[in-house]
Symmetry: C2
Subunit: 341 residues, 2 copies
C-alpha cells in the first residue's frame, strides 16, 4: 500500500524550484513576467511535484469559479444531449467547467440563486422556460445581477440575454410546406407554453393558416407535451373526431412519433393517409419509417452560442447593459412523411 502523500501546494513547488510562491503563481498565470531561466526551473518543479492548482483556493481569492451552471427542466430529454455536448466543448475551450442541474425540487429559483451566490458558478445557462428570469436575473432583493443566458424554446423576457431559434417563423414554414403540397386540412399538436402567451409554434401555425386563407378547426388542434406518449394521446383524441385532417404539424418530433404510431394502429398510414411534419430533427428522425420531415433546430449551435455569450458576459467582453438577443433559424428538412395530396 502506497501511503497517500499530501497533494503538493504552490509552496512545495516554490521550495523545490528555490523561488517564492509568488513567482510560481506568476509562471502559472503570466509566464511572460518571469525570466526564462526561473520559468524553466519552476515548470520543472511543477512537473516533478505533480502540482495541480487548488481551485477552491483560487476561486476564493479570485471570487470566480470558472464554472458555469446549465439548468434544464430535464436533462433526461435527448433533445438536450447534443446541446450539453456543445456547451461542454465550448466551455472547455474557454477554460470553464460545466455543472448541470435538473430543475426539480421545491423552488428552483431558490437553489439556483444559491449556486450563483455561493461562488460555485459564475453564470447560468438557462434551458428552462418555467423559471422566473426576473427573480433570477436581478436575484430578487439582494440586487446582485447574475450573468444569465436563456436558451429555451419560448420567447424569453426581453430584458434577459437569450439565444433562441425563431420558433414562430419556423412553425410558419412548416405549415407552408404542407400548404405547398396542397393540404388544406391541417391540424397541430402543440406544446405547452410556460408563460401566459400561447407557444410561438402555435402562433406560427395559426398565422400560416390565416395567411393561406385556411380555417383552423379547433378539434384538430390538440395540446401535447413534448414526449411520445403525448403524441399518442393526441392521436387518440383526434381519432374521435368525425373527420381527420390530411396533414399534421407536430410541435416536436417525439410527438410526431407517438402520433404516427397510434395512427398506424388504427390503420391510418403516413404519408398515404396523412402527412406529418415534426420539429427539432432528433437523431432518429431520418431512420424512421417513413423518414420524418421536420424543421431542424441547430442544437449544437444553440449550445455553443449560448455558452459563448454567457462567458463573454462573465468576462466582461460583452456589455451587460444592453441585453443580447441571438436568433438562429431552423431549416426545413423534407423527407418522406409528407407528400402532395
Amino acid at each position: 500500500m502506497m501511503k497517500p502523500k499530501k497533494t503538493p501546494t504552490i509552496q512545495d513547488v516554490a521550495r523545490r524550484a528555490e523561488v517564492s510562491a509568488a513567482t510560481v503563481s506568476r509562471v502559472l498565470s503570466a509566464p511572460e513576467r518571469v525570466s526564462k531561466s526561473t520559468r524553466d526551473r519552476v515548470n520543472a518543479a511543477v512537473r516533478e511535484t505533480g502540482y495541480t492548482i487548488n481551485q477552491a483556493a483560487r476561486s476564493l481569492r479570485l471570487k470566480a469559479a470558472r464554472t458555469i451552471l446549465m439548468a434544464a427542466p430535464n436533462i433526461g430529454n435527448p433533445y438536450y444531449s447534443t446541446i450539453t455536448d456543445a456547451v461542454i466543448i465550448e466551455a472547455a475551450e474557454r477554460g470553464y467547467s460545466v455543472m448541470v442541474a435538473s430543475s426539480i425540487g421545491d423552488d428552483p429559483n431558490l437553489w439556483l440563486r444559491d449556486y450563483l451566490l455561493s461562488t460555485r458558478a459564475d453564470g447560468l445557462l438557462l434551458f428552462d422556460g418555467s423559471l422566473d428570469t426576473n427573480r433570477l436575473h436581478g436575484l430578487g432583493d439582494t440586487g446582485v445581477a447574475m450573468p444569465l443566458v436563456a436558451a429555451y424554446d419560448e420567447l424569453p423576457d426581453p430584458k434577459v440575454n437569450s439565444v433562441i431559434t425563431d420558433n414562430r417563423a419556423a412553425a410558419k414554414r412548416a405549415v407552408q410546406h404542407l400548404v405547398s403540397l396542397g393540404h388544406r386540412n391541417i391540424g397541430h399538436i402543440s406544446v405547452p407554453s410556460r408563460n401566459q402567451n400561447p407557444h410561438e409554434r402555435l402562433i406560427g401555425y395559426r398565422e400560416a393558416m390565416a395567411e393561406a386563407g385556411l380555417d383552423v378547426r379547433p378539434e384538430w388542434v390538440v395540446a401535447g407535451g413534448y414526449n411520445m406518449p403525448s403524441g399518442h394521446a393526441a392521436a387518440e383524441a383526434l381519432l374521435g373526431a368525425k373527420e381527420l385532417p390530411t396533414a399534421m404539424f407536430c410541435a416536436t418530433d417525439e410527438m410526431a412519433l407517438g402520433f404516427m404510431h397510434r395512427l398506424r394502429q388504427a390503420g391510418i398510414e403516413c404519408p398515404r393517409d396523412i402527412s406529418i411534419i415534426g420539429f427539432d430533427d432528433i437523431a432518429v428522425a431520418e431512420y424512421l419509417d417513413p423518414p420524418l420531415t421536420t424543421m431542424r433546430q441547430p442544437r449544437e449551435k444553440i449550445g455553443r452560442m449560448a455558452t459563448r455569450t454567457l462567458i463573454d458576459i462573465i468576462e466582461g467582453i460583452a456589455s451587460e447593459n444592453e441585453p443580447i438577443h441571438v436568433v438562429l433559424t431552423s431549416d426545413l428538412v423534407v423527407r418522406q412523411s409528407t407528400r402532395a395530396i
Copy 2:
C-alpha cells in the same frame, strides 16, 4: 440601477445577530450545538441578510467540494441522458453537485486527474471505458487514490469499483430468445471493445450460439459502432453476402434502427423477412415500426447506484479497500420486431 451590494459573508450575519462568526457557522452545520435563542437570532439574521455560504471558502477549509464529476465519451449520446438525470437527482439528494465532462481533447487521463486533484470534484463517475482506470485510480505517480466508480458497458478492471449490467448474460438471453423462436441463422452487429478482449455482448452471442449448437457464420458477424449509421453500414455489408440470416442480434438499439432502415430500402421487411433484436431499450424503441424487441438496460438504476456508491466511498461509508462490484440485470422486452420462423 440598483447598485450591487457585496454578497454578505458569515461576518455580516454574525454582526447582525450579535454573535461570533463561529456561532453562525455552528448554527449552519450543527444547530444542536447552539442554544435555541441564539439559533433563532442567527437564523433570522441569515434570512435578513440573504446570506449564502461561500462554497469556495468552504471547500478550501474542508478540502472537499461536495461535487462529483461525471465523465462520458460523449454525453451527446441520448443513452446517457437518462443516466445523467438519475445521477443529478441522486447526487442532489446527498447534497452534491454534478460536473460533466466529455472525454475529448488530448489526454483525458490528464485533465481528469486535474479535476480531482484540484478540489473541484471529490470523486469520479466514469462512463468511458477507454480511459485508463489504472492510472486514474492510483493517479499514477502521485499515489493519491481517488474515489472512482466505473459504470460503462464493458468489463471493468476488477480492482476498480463498478456498477454494470451483465452484458454477457443479457446478450445470451437475447440470442436465446431468437433461438426459441426457431431461428438458426442468427447474425450479430457488434460493438467495438476498448480493451484487448472482445466485447461481452459478442462473447455472449458466441456462447449462446455454441450452446444452441448453431454455427457462427463469420460473414454474419459485422462490426458496428453504437450509432445508427454503423447499423446502416452493417446492413450494407450484409447485403453483399450470398445468403441473409433470418435473425439479427444488434448490440445497440441505434444500430438496430440503422440496420432495419437500410434493409427496408432493399425491400427486406422486419419481422416478415428478418427478426431483429436490439439492446438498451432507448425511449423510441416502442414507437418504431415495428416496435423493437430489445434487452432493457436499467439506465436509471445504473445512474443512481453508481452515484450512491461513489458518494458512499467519498464519505467513507463504504470501505475503499475491497472494490465494490454491483451487477444489474437487463430484461428482455418482447415487441414486434422478432417473430417465430
